[in-house]
Amino acid sequence: MKLRTLAFSICLVTLLGLTLPMITSAEQQAPTGIDGHDKVIREMTSAKSLYMLKCSGCHRVDGTGAPEAGIPPFPGFIAPLARNPDGRVYISHVPGIMGSRLSNEQLADVLNYVIDEWAGEDASGTPRFTVEELAALREIPVTNIVEYRRDIVNQLIESGDPVADYPWP
């Protein structure tokens, strides 16, 4: 008799275990595979919208950043940085690029948008990013970005270019 009760409860538990997830998962069908996830962002093509979504939170809508909080401004500083070969590697490794989870196509568009908007008079003399170049630059391992930045800052000072205020020079 006891054995029968045990067998019955095992059956009941197994049955519940099988059917309960079915009932709950039927309420909300989760997207499957990469195609189902973050579709809105992956299909975005406007560089301005992508800047707003992925960069403006820190660099702000007008590109002025928050220097006291460690976010340097773009106007006056982005052009010399983008004209320096090491500066281009650095740009490809800032948190907004590395942590964005955007495609290289979207990222190249955003970087070129930043140059278009804030390089000012130097815009015509500043090379833009191609998808191929950006993909290659992102492949370069930059393990100590802080030291690398200091190195580039010294290069810019030497060439007489302006350097942004930054709490960790």
Partner: protein
Amino acid sequence: MLKIFERIQSALSGLVETSARQSARQYGRRSALARMGSIMVGGAVFTALPFDRAWGATPSGDGTYNDKSCDYWRYCALDGFLCTTAGGSKSSCPVGAEASLVSWVGTCHNPADDRDYLVSYYDCCGKTAFSGAQFCLRSEGERPAYSMGLHNDINWCMSNANKGYHCTVALVVGVAE
């Protein structure tokens, strides 16, 4: 009369003495220390646990166009007090509080025109929180740990001189296109 007190006293001290001796025989000094230690460590662990903002109201779905409700469409990733219930509006801070210099931006779907909008969540800072304000927790698009920039538990007032958190506004900054 005094004798009665003396008797009670001696009876009490005898009782305490026997129970103390008994417990000393039963438990070593180390066990008492271990117990005290575990209580202290337990306390320390509890205070070190991450600050939980998870006591907000969960959306019920009937306030999609009411900016004082957690269900309002713009608040799809808002974690904090609604400025609309703390003396401000859905896009501006209450008097005496200043907007955070940095914010986090996500997309929210507006069912009215079936479009996705870019919504920037600014924290209003430098004023103590108002206990009567509506607290909300919605985390669409939040990617904690993987993308710290998409973490709505962060107090964005950290970038300001006055770091005290007051409430959060949801500013539409564009269309996701």
